[in-house]
């Protein structure tokens, strides 16, 4: 019944990131295919620099040795392979990049390496809770902000991809920016939290200064330091 003080570190530090990887699909004969790669590189050197590359081997039949040879031929051209696809992992040299699964296709619009396109972020979705969050309840909303019209009880937990707003007393745990959003913040009308975390950086009740307790407060990330400051 009593909520145990479980170390939450591993959970919090384990974060996901997604990158768009180029997928190379070599064809037979491999020599011709490598020539095409060379032609692309001759036109724009550094085209693949810093890009994750995945090799899709579904269209070719290669021995474990052949795969190793192909990977090293690409390496000599400055192309490092992040993972393999379309091949059974058994019997492959363990030094080879891992066999991946679950990738999804997408359109790569901007491949020029230098140009960084700034897109306005889509409006963040949010979750509104109209009643207090009670001890033992765990609200997980990775899509965006969580707003609570009421208190968050001791032993309750809120996990949000975005910021957390508590219009009441925050007595439990609040973890904001769980997907690596370091701009996320935690706001509450009265702070008595057991744990506050943003993007994996956390402080426990012991770290929260006595002068702040029971005051309106916010928590935010200043570099990699979690700061808790009064809200007025």
């Amino acid at each position: 019944m009593d909520a145990k003080v479980e170390p939450q570190r591993q959970v919090m530090r384990l974060r996901g990131r997604s990158y768009v990887a180029f997928v190379f699909s070599p064809f037979m004969p491999i020599m011709n295919w490598l020539e095409e790669i060379d032609a692309t590189l001759a036109q724009s050197p550094g085209f693949f620099a810093g890009r994750p590359i995945v090799l899709d081997l579904a269209a070719v039949e290669l021995s474990s040795h052949g795969v190793a040879h192909l990977v090293s031929s690409l390496e000599t051209r400055g192309i490092r392979v992040l993972g393999l696809e379309g091949i059974e992992p058994d019997g492959l040299d363990p030094k080879l990049p891992p066999v991946l699964s679950g990738g999804r296709g997408c359109v790569v619009e901007q491949v020029e390496p230098k140009k960084v396109e700034v897109q306005p972020p889509p409006p963040a979705p949010s979750l509104l809770l109209r009643s207090p969050v009670r001890s033992g309840q765990r609200i997980v909303y990775t899509e965006g902000d969580v707003t609570v019209l009421g208190s968050v009880g001791s032993g309750a937990e809120i996990v949000a991809g975005g910021s957390i707003h508590v219009y009441g007393t925050l007595r439990g745990r609040a973890m904001a920016g769980i997907n690596g959003n370091s701009d996320a913040r935690i706001y509450c009308q009265k702070i008595e939290a057991e744990l506050l975390a943003i993007d994996g950086y956390y402080q426990t009740a012991e770290d929260i200064g006595e002068t702040l307790r029971r005051q309106p407060a916010q928590a935010w990330l200043d570099g990699d330091v979690l700061r808790i400051t009064p809200l007025n």
Binding site: M1, D2, R134, G136, Q137, S151, G153, S154, G155
Partner: protein
């Protein structure tokens, strides 16, 4: 219309069984037809507090399993004719009780009584969830102490999510009953104060029952305290709580150490 009331707490030993018996008897004294139902299968207690332990033949599980009829298991109180007990089994374990079994018994009791008061076992497991499952209202019992209040908060969360009412999108009506309120320790500031408890739980207050020898005396003779010594402090607090349950507005009194201060009012706080 019949009302199903669960007396629950999360934490053990806070006074659920004492409160079930006292509130049940107080409501019955007001002329309501009341049955108190012991859901603490395997650790039954309510029959002792009600002084009916030597009259138990069939129990809740026998009825749930169709071995006995409800009318065979119900025990009428010897002092109050509108007060009945449906005892639990001391020998079975909690798994013997099924959701359907409880549903059917509660539905049957609704046709026969004004109040069906379910004495929940401690904890948050099956026994406790079954006791609250078909309730319309809940009395959440807590002592003025941190762990008890936190468990009460947890139970309130379950009342708002695991009951049939909650699943149908309705609100189950909740009341907080603060028991074992020790006036001398309160005077020394050794307990959580009432405002803090109510702020944490955000549920209306049904009553404050003082810590009192009268409760022990009553349970030793197998009588709800409201019957055994109706003029005692805890009995009066329970009688007031029962009046609030039936919808009356009764001023709240905070028990204090000296008899003279007993009627001190908790200003501005209205009953549930």
């Amino acid at each position: 219309m019949a009302k199903v009331l669960v007396v629950t707490s999360g934490k053990g030993g806070v006074g659920k069984t004492t409160s079930t018996a006292a509130l049940g008897a107080a409501l019955a004294q007001r002329g309501e037809k009341v049955v108190v139902v012991d859901f603490d299968v395997g650790l039954r207690n309510l029959d002792l507090i009600m002084g009916a332990e030597r009259r138990v033949v069939f129990d809740l599980i026998n009825v749930a399993q169709g071995v006995a009829k409800l009318s065979q298991a119900l025990i009428r109180d010897k002092r109050l004719e509108s007060l009945w007990l449906l005892p639990a089994s001391q020998t079975r374990d909690k798994d013997a009780l099924t959701d359907e079994g409880v549903r059917d018994i509660i539905a049957d009791l609704r046709t026969k009584f004004d109040w069906i008061i379910c004495d929940s076992p401690a904890g948050i497991e099956r026994g406790a969830t079954l006791a609250m499952r078909y309730a319309d209202e809940a009395v959440v019992v807590t002592n003025p102490e941190v762990s008890s209040v936190r468990d009460a908060d947890r139970i309130i969360g379950m009342l708002d999510s695991k009951t049939v009412k909650a699943e149908q999108g309705e609100q189950i009506k909740k009341h907080v009953l603060i028991t074992r309120y020790d006036t001398s320790r309160a005077a020394r500031g050794e307990m959580l104060n009432i405002d803090d408890i109510l702020e944490i739980l955000a549920v209306p207050l049904l009553g404050i029952i003082p810590e009192s020898q009268d409760v022990l005396k009553a349970s030793n003779v197998g009588s709800p305290v409201t019957l055994n010594n109706a003029g005692s402090q805890p009995a009066r607090a329970y009688i007031d709580a029962a009046r609030r349950l039936s919808g009356e507005t009764v001023d709240m009194v905070v028990p204090t150490e000296q008899r003279r201060g007993f009627m001190d009012r908790l200003l501005g706080r209205r009953a549930a």
